[in-house]
Structure formats: C-alpha cells, structure tokens
C-alpha cells in the first residue's frame, strides 16, 4: 500500500474511532479539521503511523463493511416468506415472514433495484441495475436459475398475469423491455418516460403502468413534466399516458384490487421560484397522483402539512379492501397512512378549480391522512400481506425491516438484515444524505434534489445571488471527489464548503450538520462510484462513429485546416480522468441574468445521462450546446461541423 493510500485510510479509521466519542461531541463544539490533504511528507508519515497503530488494534478494512441496504420487498404467495432485495450487498434475503428469521441469502447481480413474484409464485425476478440483467430465482430452491436480458439500468420488473412475459423498466435507456419468459429473450422495447423506473399491473392484467424519475427536458425554465405510461399488455404497446404536470421524481405506482384507483408517489419541485425561504412548502410538494375510474380526471394531492413535511414519497401499498393506502416517505423515516374512502369523498367534493390547486393546499391532507408511523431510517419498499394486516417496510439505511400491525397502526416487530455492527463514516454520511431532518421543519434533504444519489434534471433559482439570477442546473454527484472546485461558479473550493454552512443558510434555512456530521456526509459523497458506462463496447474499443467523434473531440485544426487555439480545443479544457481541467472559463454561454460569464468546466463522465446541459440547463440536448449556444465558436470550434459530425461527437461523448 502506498504511503498516500495509508494516510487516506488512516484518516478514515480516525473517523471510525470517533464513534465512541459521539456523545461528547454534542457537548463540545469541536471544530474538526475538515480537510485531509496530507500534503506534506511529515503529515503522510504521521498518517502512516496512525494507520499501522490501528492495524495492530485489529481494525477491519473498509472493504469489509458492506451494508445490505434493503430497498424493495415482496411476499411469497402464501405469505410465509418475505423477500428483501438488498441494493448494497446485491442479494435477495429470504425471511420467515412471521419470525423474522433469515432463511437464505441469494446472490444476484450488481446494485439490484427491483423485484417481482411470478403469478404462480414459483419464480422471483430481480432487476440488476448495474448488470443490465434480470435474475430469475426459483422460490422453492431459493436459487438463481437463469439470467434474462434487459435494457440499460433495469430498475423494476413485473410479469403479465399469465406469466408469459416479463416487463422491465430501464432507467438509462428510458424504455420497457418485453421479455418472452419461455424463450428467455427480449422481444420488444417500448418507449417510456425519462428514467423509466417503476411498474404496476392492473388487476385484470390488461394494463401495466410505468413511471419515470426524471422529468422530460422541456423548454428552458418551463415547469417540469412527467407522465405515467400505460402499456396495453395484449398488444404490447403504449396505449396511453397520464400527464403529471409540475411533477418530477415519480416513484412507485400502485393499483387497487378492483382496478378503479391508481396512485403514484411523486415530488412537485418548486424550482422555478426563488428559493428565498423554506416554509409553506416552498421547495417541494410531496404528493400523490390519484387516477382511475374512482376519481375521473387525474388529481394531485399533497401529503404535507403546514408545519411538517413527509418527503420524498417512494412506495405505495393499497389495502386489499381499499380502506387504506400506505406510503413510505424516505427522508422523514415514516409511513403515511391515508384513509381511502375519506380521500375519495374529499376529491369528489372538490370543484374542478379546487382539484387543480389541491396539491398546493397544505391543509388538505388533514382530510384524508390518518396517521404517520415512525419506522427505521430511509424507508423504501413496502409489502402488504394478502389479508392487509401486516405491512413490511424496508428501512434502507437502517438495514432493518419494520413490521407494522395495520390495525394498531404501530410497528409490531423489526427484522434485522444483520449487517456490519459498526457504521462507517460513509454509511453515517449516507444516512444523513437521505434524511430530511436537517431542512426547516423536515422539509427536504440532499436526496430530494439528488434523487437516489444522482440528480433531478432540474434548474433551480437559488437566493443568495438575488431573484432570477444565476439559474443553476443540478449535476450528477458520482465520482466528484477529484473535481473541485464545486458549484457552477466554482465558488466552493471543497465539498465541505459546498455542503456545510452554505447549505444550512441558503437551502435548509435551519441548523444542520455539525462538523462531524459534515465530515461523514462528505465521506459518503466522495465514495459515490461512477455507474458503468453503457455505450462502450465490451472490449473497450470504439465503434466507427465513436472513433470519428473522438477525432473531432481531439482535433487541433478545423476542417479547413486552420489551427484551433489551444484554449478552444475540446480536449484541453475537458481533459484528464474526469474530462475537466478544473478551471473556469467564459465559453459564451452566460446569460444576461448571470452575474458572471465564467463557469467551472464540468466533468463529462456519463454526461449523456444528465440532460439538460450548460450551467443553467438551457441546452436541452448535447447538440444544442453547439447548434444554439455556440454561435461564435467560443465553446470549442463546432460551427464547421455538419449534423452527422455532431452526431459522431455525441456518440463519442456517450463513451466518457
């Protein structure tokens, strides 16, 4: 191990050691040295000595700490077995649903995100989001028996009622794969929404509903738009789309047993108005889209109250008798319970005008929310027993399953995934990242904008620069540790500045992280890996189009042979491992509302995923960067390129 690695490791161990000091830290306002630069040789040596000392104490390696992170749940057909899909360890954990005893751990693919049981209960399907595959599990043998194909980043799976076809929502390829289960082959792709994510089937099997977590890239500074795509399972086509105005970040969708009521969990961001304060639901509306024959036209209802917020709504389970809806709210560590008859009566009594503005009425939830049940940290997936009496809740960052007695509306038991006994700094930081308790009145947390640790595809009007000024596009957080400075104007030299007092003052508007917590949070963010690139060939070689694009990216002369100034070559500013030279430039994309035209050179890894582009999100596509916002060739020389050449350039950028 290199000395620098040892020193970095020793720093992490120092963080771990402080566990026993956490009680002290609340009493003593310790200003913790945030930066572990270890620039000097002396510091490196000290770090090494500390690391060796820790080794003699029997400290485990960071790699040993893998946390289960249960994210989705489902029950066996007879209800005797509970299957927990664990994103962190890449496994399905089979529990005895009554006792909570672990029966088997079944290894599946990388970063699994979704699971579903076959109609006859004999098979369990798991969407492996980073493996681009679906694992098929024999529920009797509790073993993987087959791997099935999927699109890019499969996130959710469901079968038709006959069990003949498997539908897979693919988050990166924005579509739904239709897989013939007899043949084990993909037979069709259906275009779904951007970031296609969650699926539900109607009780009659005629329709499958698909949500998407990223809004469509629309006009600059226009309200975000999302929808629910409805698949006709007989014809295997998209037959309808429910429009979800002003929604972005749509998660699970569920249908009632009679098929007359549908509900989708969603965020309604307030990204177009200045974020001058937080009260009155100023930043997010936590909402449910209600649709189906029971309500007629789709209506969006709020989950929040005037002084308390329940965010972000993620999974929904509907009682078999349609008496109640259960919604997990990840950042609020709770499950919201809705009385469905009261909800339907309330909606039916509302005038058309009231229905249109209902989502913005923070007093509305009093008419249908009956309680909030505290569960573990970061509740995600839900599974309701067939009799509706037991609700299971996957507490992602607690590595537990809460069992709720739905009659008593209380947690009656907690199952453990039996993860590492000691939390690491990264894990503590992950808990903080997903928690909304630091925002004023628990309004929101990091994960509200960085959905599932990514981005939200939105542009925000932040307050400190004034109203309507310096509109900023949200950026992907993966692999950002070495890309300082941060923020589009490069104003934050490190992540501690980015996430610390600035976040407290201008985002949360409330006392937030202490020095230790901030350090944990930064540890988590720095540890976020870059997801696999889907556009590179398996062997790493480039396609002909990508090769041509690479040549354009690296060219030093225009097509006419004129030299391109070094500062105006793509490869110069977008250089290095992350395709950024970490410097500020005026590339001519500044707007009249920007205080300065200088922008931080963004990293380009996985750039194709994060539309829209430019510092303010004004370019809806990569192509628009050059065809709309680069008239004077100030952002690289691109005006001599033809359409097909720009396409080649895009093909290359996809591989970064």
């Amino acid at each position: 191990m290199k000395l620098s690695a040892i020193s970095a490791y020793s720093a992490r161990r120092l963080f771990s050691l402080r566990l026993s000091l956490r009680s002290l830290r609340r009493r003593v306002e310790v200003v913790f040295p945030y930066s572990f630069g270890f620039a000097s040789l002396g510091t490196v040596l000290i770090g090494g000595i500390v690391a060796l000392s820790l080794a003699t104490l029997g400290a485990d390696t960071p790699a040993a700490a893998r946390f289960s992170s249960p994210i989705e749940l489902t029950l066996s057909k007879d209800g005797a077995r509970l299957f927990a899909l664990c994103e962190g360890t890449g496994e399905v954990v089979a529990f005895d649903a009554r006792s909570g005893k672990i029966v088997r751990r079944i290894k599946v693919g990388s970063v699994p995100k979704g699971l579903a049981l076959s109609p006859n209960g004999e098979r369990l399907y798991v969407a492996n989001s980073w493996s681009d595959s679906v694992s098929e599990i024999d529920t009797a043998a509790l073993a993987v028996v087959r791997s099935l194909p999927a699109g890019f980043e499969p996130n959710s799976v469901i079968t038709d009622l006959a069990g003949r076809f498997l539908y897979v929502a693919n988050r990166i390829s924005n579509d739904v794969s239709v897989v013939d289960l007899a043949a084990g082959t993909e037979v069709k792709r259906l275009a779904a929404g951007r970031g296609a994510s969650y699926l539900a089937i109607s009780p009659d099997g005629a329709s499958i509903y698909c949500t998407h977590i990223y809004p469509y890239p629309g006009d600059f500074r226009a309200p975000p738009e999302s929808d629910i795509a409805v698949i006709d399972t007989a014809r295997q086509v998209i037959k309808d789309r429910y429009r979800l105005p002003n929604a972005a970040g749509v998660f699970h969708v569920a249908l009632s047993a009679d098929g007359r009521l549908g509900m989708a969990a969603q965020l309604r961001p307030k990204n177009l108005i200045p974020l001058a304060h937080v009260e009155h639901g100023w930043v997010f509306g936590n909402s449910i889209s209600v649709f189906g024959a029971d309500v007629g036209e789709l209506v969006q209802i709020p989950l929040d109250e005037l002084e308390r917020y329940f965010t972000p709504p993620f999974a929904i389970a509907l009682a078999p008798d349609k008496s109640a809806a259960y919604i997990s709210t990840t950042g609020s560590d709770s499950v919201t319970v809705i009385d469905i008859p009261r909800l339907l009566a309330f909606i039916r009594a509302a005038s058309p005008a009231q229905r249109r503005t209902l989502a913005n009425d923070l007093s509305a939830s009093a008419n249908y929310v009956v309680t909030r049940i505290a569960v573990g940290t970061a509740p995600k997936g839900l599974a309701l027993s067939s009799d509706g009496k037991r609700l299971y809740v996957a507490n992602r960052t607690a590595d537990t399953i809460s069992v709720i007695d739905t009659a008593a509306r209380k947690v009656s038991a907690t199952f453990s995934l039996q993860g590492p006994a000691t939390l690491t700094a990264e894990r503590r930081g992950e808990r903080l990242f997903f928690s909304a308790r630091f925002g004023f009145q628990g309004h929101f947390g990091c994960a509200n904008c960085h959905l599932e640790s990514t981005f939200d595809g939105l542009q925000w009007d932040l307050e400190p620069d004034g109203f309507g000024q310096d509109i900023v596009d949200n950026r992907l957080l993966e692999d950002v540790a070495e890309t300082a400075p941060f923020k589009w104007n490069g104003g934050n030299p490190n992540l501690e500045t980015e996430c610390g007092p600035r976040t407290e003052k201008f985002f949360y508007r409330s006392e937030s992280y202490d020095g230790w917590e901030l350090s944990d949070l930064v540890s988590y963010i720095k540890a976020m890996p870059l997801r696999p690139n889907r556009f590179r060939l398996a062997g790493g070689e480039l396609t002909p189009a990508q090769e041509r694009g690479k040549a354009i990216f690296e060219r030093t002369r225009t097509k006419s042979g004129a030299p391109i100034p070094e500062a105006n070559q793509c490869q110069v500013c977008h250089s290095g491992k992350h395709y950024t030279n970490l410097k500020m430039f005026d590339v001519g994309s500044g707007k009249a509302t920007d205080r300065s035209p200088m922008v931080d050179t963004p990293q380009l890894n996985n750039i194709v995923l994060t539309a829209p582009y430019l510092h303010d999100g004004s370019a809806r596509t990569l192509e628009e960067i050059w065809t709309v916002f680069n008239p004077k060739d100030t952002h690289g020389v691109t005006n001599d390129l033809q359409k097909d050449e720009l396409n080649d350039l895009i093909e290359y950028l996809k591989t970064l």
Binding site: L24, E463, S510
Partner: protein, 453 residues
Amino acid sequence: MFQLLRMCAEVTYNSRSMGPGILFRLAAWVAILIGCGALRAQGGLAASYIYTEASLYDSAATLKSGERFPAGAALQLVAAGRKRALAPGFAASADATVSFDAQRVLFSGKQKPGDPWQIWELPVAGGAARRIVLSKEDAITPFYLPGERIVYSRRTPAGFQLVSVALDGGAPLQLTYGPGNRVACDVLRDGRVLFEADHELFTVYSDGSGVESYRCDHGPRRRGARELASGDILFETGGRLARFTSARAVQLPVSLPKGEYAGPVAELSPTAWLVSYRPAATAPFGLYNWRLGEALPEKLLAPSAQAVQPVLVQPRPVPKRFPSALGDRQGANLLCLNVYTSKLPIAQGSVAKVRVWARSDGGSPTILGEAPVEKDGSFFVNPPSETAIRFELLDRSGKVAATEKGWFWARRGEQRVCVGCHAGPERSPENAVPQVLLRSTEPVKLISHGGVK
C-alpha cells in the same frame, strides 16, 4: 411520567437517526431514570414547577401598553410538594421561563416597586440573580433562544417590541417594527419566535426576518400561546383554550370543563396539562392538573391569589438555531408571485398596480410609491427595511381593489417571496417563473404617480 417516557422515546429515536451514539443514549436514559425517581419521591404532581402569584392579573394589559400585575407579582417554585418564593429579594417577579437544561430561570423582575421590569436570570437551585437586560423601560416576557441568546419584549414609544440579546450582553437586536405591542409567547422548536400582537399570533425568525401571522383564520383574541410536544400551539382565547395543529389552517377548540382559563398552559404529559383555571369569574385563578378528557381538573393550589404562568422545571429540547441569511443590500427585496392567489375576491386580470404604504412609529401612513403588477399577478419591489409597510392593489382606473389590513416589515437585506395577497400559510406556491423576473431581476422602482422607470 408520560412526559419522561416520551422524552426517552425521543432521545432514542433521535439518537438512532444520528448514528450509533450509544454513550449519548445511555447517558440520556440514566438522566431520565434519575429524573423519574426524583419525581416519584415528590408525590402528587410529580414535576417541579414555577408560577406567578399576583393579587391582580390582566393578561391582555400588555397589548394595551398597560400593566398586567398592577398590584405586583411574585414567582413561586413548587418542588417536592413545597412552595417557596423563587426571587425573594425582588419587589416583583413574573414571566418565568426555564433553560433547556432546566438549571436556570429567566424572568422579569423589579428590585424596587418603582423600577421598570427588567430581565434577570437565576439558578433553579438557588443563588444570586443576574441582571441580563438593563433598560430604562419595561423589559418583560423573556425566552431562551439557542446559542446563549434570549428574546424579550421591550417597551418603546411605539409599544412593546421584541428584542434579542446575548445572555452575556452585547448589542440588542430589535426584531419587530412599527406601532403596536408585540409580546413574546414562546420559542418554537423550529427556531421561530412566537409572539402575540393585535390579539393574533405571529412568528418571526430570530434575526427579525420572515414575520407573518401563524394562521389566517382570524379567530377571536388569542394570547398566552405555548408549543406542545406534539408541535401544536395551545393558547387562550376568550377565557377558553384552543389550539393550532400542523395539519389544519384553522383554530381547533379544546373540549374543556366549564370555567375560565388563563394562558399559558404547562404540558405535564401528552394527556395532562397544568392550567390556570377558575370555575367561576368571581374566583381567582388557581393551578389545576387537568387530565385531558376528564370532567373536572384537579386542584393543586388553593387560590388565595391569582396563580398564573405555570412553567415546568424540566429539561426540554433545544430549538433549532436559525442561520440568518440577510444580505448586504439596502432595503428589502419583496416579490409577490401572484396577487390573485388570495382569500379575497380579487378578479383575475383586474389588478394593474401595487401601492406601497409606510408608517413611522408615531406618524401617519404615507405612500412610498407604486409599481406595476404583471399579468400573472407578480410584482417585485424594494421598500425600506425596518419600517412598517403594507400593500394596496389598484385596478386600471386607480381604484383600490384590495388593501392589506395589517402592517408588516422586513429586515435590511432580507429577500422574501409571498405566494399571493392574503393567500394564507396553507397555500404553497405554484411552480412558475414570475413574469416580473423575466422582465428584470432587479426590483421595480417605486414611483409616486404615472409610469415606471
């Protein structure tokens, strides 16, 4: 006991979400168990408490610039079943509030009968009182803020105003402005200061920004408000008690035994309150333990005098610190998203301009100027800060379409956005770029008459 168990649950719950603070949790449990033992030993009402004893009490006097205790008052501490004067060296003492760790008491007191009320602090366990605020005018109703600061109400020529100051001194920071009386009621756990004015409840951040009414249901006179552990705001209104809940935009009645109540109330547990109560208006207020739902409250103190302002001597959560974000700019930038989002009947498209009024502490209202209202109902202005202002909407003929009844203010450098005009706190904003910001990101200059520069 319920209160302590609830605290146990909260400590455990909060610790769990913070991380593995095992030592912290253990320490908290030990402290709470010790507390339980101590309370058991006292018998009767387990908790120690402080209240104000006075022969005369007018709870509404401050809002009329009057004196609540015209015949004097004395703080009493009841602990282990015994009562003693908390501040025996004072000619008058009232308005007790207990520090978050339950070790100190903040109160308003007069050393001599002719002195103005001043803010003092003393240890619960006994000892010398320390003067926190020295003022030539009355300083009353102090409350602890996080970060070793307090907020209190100071008499000024314009009426009682809220002021914040560090416990160890320093320059006081005025939080409220304009004519009228404002009296602090509580510091909410989210960090806002709750106060009463014009017989209504308001909140303001600890830097004086973000002032607004707590609800816009315009009920009868409200005073003596306190935040309960549930987050509900419990207050007195017309001699009865009522509450605001987080879920509702309107006041909810509390089903009470017959009789008259004087706020504030001390919460013994989620199911029991320590209340100032009298069965009939002819009797003085006594202290009673009322278990919610029971027909009659249990008498704790024989009412030889008025017994009011009960407060428990027990630890409580420290409210969140508010990180002030006031910028270094003149005046305050005030943006209204849509004047048509309103409880008032303002016809869509009818409003052409907004007129801004100002009022000095002693003076009459004056017009600061007018600014256009965009088609979408938005406007953006920069009135002076620390000055009472209000808006008036004008139609195309210059006729007043709607008038704001109350006065409010903003701090220097404050940037604030309203959903609409009298939209109510339950109304969250619609997500759309206000047209006025598409025209310019600078506030529109107010002019006296005619067009806009």
